[in-house]
């Protein structure tokens, strides 16, 4: 009995140590980047234009490029994702078609980003003659985040109680009115969670973006202009050794953006869970 108690103590200590180690890695990465990057941040760095190929000056075009590109991608993917989720959960039973849709969504989620980059390059950039541009990058990212949006929206829609739909239908509302006025407003926090997850992924993406949106370091004037996102800018600075200080500064802004998106997502999810519990 004592032996079993002792072996349990050892096992639990080892498991706890592994958990602490994982947490330490998270803390190390965040502290490492912020410690070196935060001192680089200044109004000029955040809102200034680059000088000397990014060796000096600011990264304003990259910040604009990152958010415009990500928001365009989500603007394209969101109606498709929510529409798919509404169709799957409200308008059909399990059929061959829905199984094909689900299977296709799963496959799409498993494709690595470099393949999206390859595809976006041949299809949007070359075949459709969009060139390296905001629109080519946004369409590629939109396909990439579509599975996330479909899944989170479907979960959110299915969590709306069936009785609410029945009440709406029983007072004479059409199916579409019910979806529009009862189901979607109540599924909104879950859908927003999906949007935030997609936003985080788009902000950090590099491989799919560098081959489709290009790396022009100027403020875009239209959707057919090439942009450079923060992640791409960071990659170029770090890989070509342009400026380690600016690289750390860019990494800090990038990590802070992603952290902000994550914290917001977590807060939204908690609100959702509390509402469900009520």
């Amino acid at each position: 009995m004592n032996f079993h108690k002792a072996s349990q103590a050892v096992a639990v200590a080892a498991l706890a140590a592994a958990t602490v180690l994982s947490l330490a890695v998270v803390a190390f990465i965040i502290v490492f980047v912020l410690e070196r990057g935060l001192p680089q941040l200044s109004a000029e760095f955040l809102f200034g234009l680059p000088r000397n190929m990014g060796k000096a000056g600011g990264i304003f075009p990259a910040i604009v490029g990152t958010f415009v590109l990500s928001l365009m991608a989500i603007g394209i993917a969101l109606p498709l994702g929510v529409g798919t989720a509404v169709y799957l959960s409200e308008y059909t039973r399990e059929t061959g078609l829905t199984r094909a849709i689900r299977f296709g969504t799963d496959c799409l989620a498993g494709i690595p980003s470099i393949i999206f980059g390859l595809f976006g390059y041949v299809f949007f950039v070359t075949t459709l003659r969009m060139g390296w541009s905001l629109i080519a990058g946004a369409l590629t990212l939109a396909i990439m985040v579509l599975p996330t949006l479909i899944r989170t929206s479907e979960e959110a829609i299915r969590a709306v109680p069936a009785s609410w739909r029945e009440v709406s239908l029983s007072v004479g509302a059409t199916k579409w009115d019910t979806v529009r006025k009862v189901v979607l407003p109540n599924a909104l926090p879950g859908i927003v969670t999906g949007v935030m997850l997609s936003l985080g992924r788009s902000i950090g993406e590099t491989a799919a973006v560098i081959f489709t949106a290009g790396s022009s370091f100027r403020l875009p004037k239209g959707v057919f202009d090439s942009v450079r996102t923060m992640a791409v800018h960071f990659y170029i600075l770090a890989r070509e050794g342009v400026s380690v200080e600016k690289a750390y500064g860019t990494a800090a802004v990038l990590v802070l953006s992603v952290l902000a998106v994550n914290v917001l997502t977590y807060w939204l999810m908690n609100r959702l869970i509390k509402r469900k519990a009520r």
Binding site: L15, T84, A100, C107, P112, A231
Partner: protein
Amino acid sequence: MTGGSDALVRRLLAAIACTAVLCLLVIALFIFKEGLPFLFKVGLGNFLLSSDWRPDAGKYGILSMIASSLWVTFGALLVGAPLGMAGAVFLSEFSPTGLVRFVKPAIELLAGIPSVVFGFIGVMVLAPIIRNAGGGPGLSILAASIVLGVMILPTIMSISIDALAAVPPSYREGALALGATRWQAVRMVVLKAASSGLVAGAILGMGRAIGETMAVIMVAGNAIKMPDSVLDSARTLTANIALEMGYATGLHRQALFATGIALLVVIMILNGLAAAALRRRGTGT
């Protein structure tokens, strides 16, 4: 009239719902359209069974890259799976419930950190340590394995936590009632019941590791040769595509798409294994 518009909405939504499948088909079509002619011209044997990659000399062998991808992926699994699963077991079975709500989102932050940042930290921190301690170039399979292992940790941990949560409490109670300690109950009953879910998590983590590109380019060193030690520099399938896509033309460019096909096939095999493992959980135990 309203019934008519409802039918219209239904048809519109059905069309929207097909976009994901349509995208998948178009992606497959274009990747294969660019890559397949190359395979017929160069031959599957010269492509898959040779390690000689010199596009300027018409040599397109990717065997060393397939091997490098597998080394790096299994290395990542050796790092990420024990950490992720141990964390999951500790949080699900041995810790107060409040702790999970704090620790899980903290570790899931890792999933949000951009891969270029992971790669950069690997270059700045890990590579010098490996170079000083073990010799070799530092930018190596070992460095890539550790970086990727950390990157797949949140995937493995979340899925493992779900798998453990799916084991009915009565299994634990039964074991404890027979006089087992909590650790014995976990080791002999809970882990067995959750095993297929744990395996599925590990395989999904592998899928992520093998598809990762930017972090690997930065830390693996990218040398084109058959790896024979974890301290060797290596070029993976994904790195090969990303490094040469910028300037490749003609047959060389087609070869990169064929590399993409090879990558997709490997991933499809891994996903098939994960699906089989999950199905076993659905019917068995």
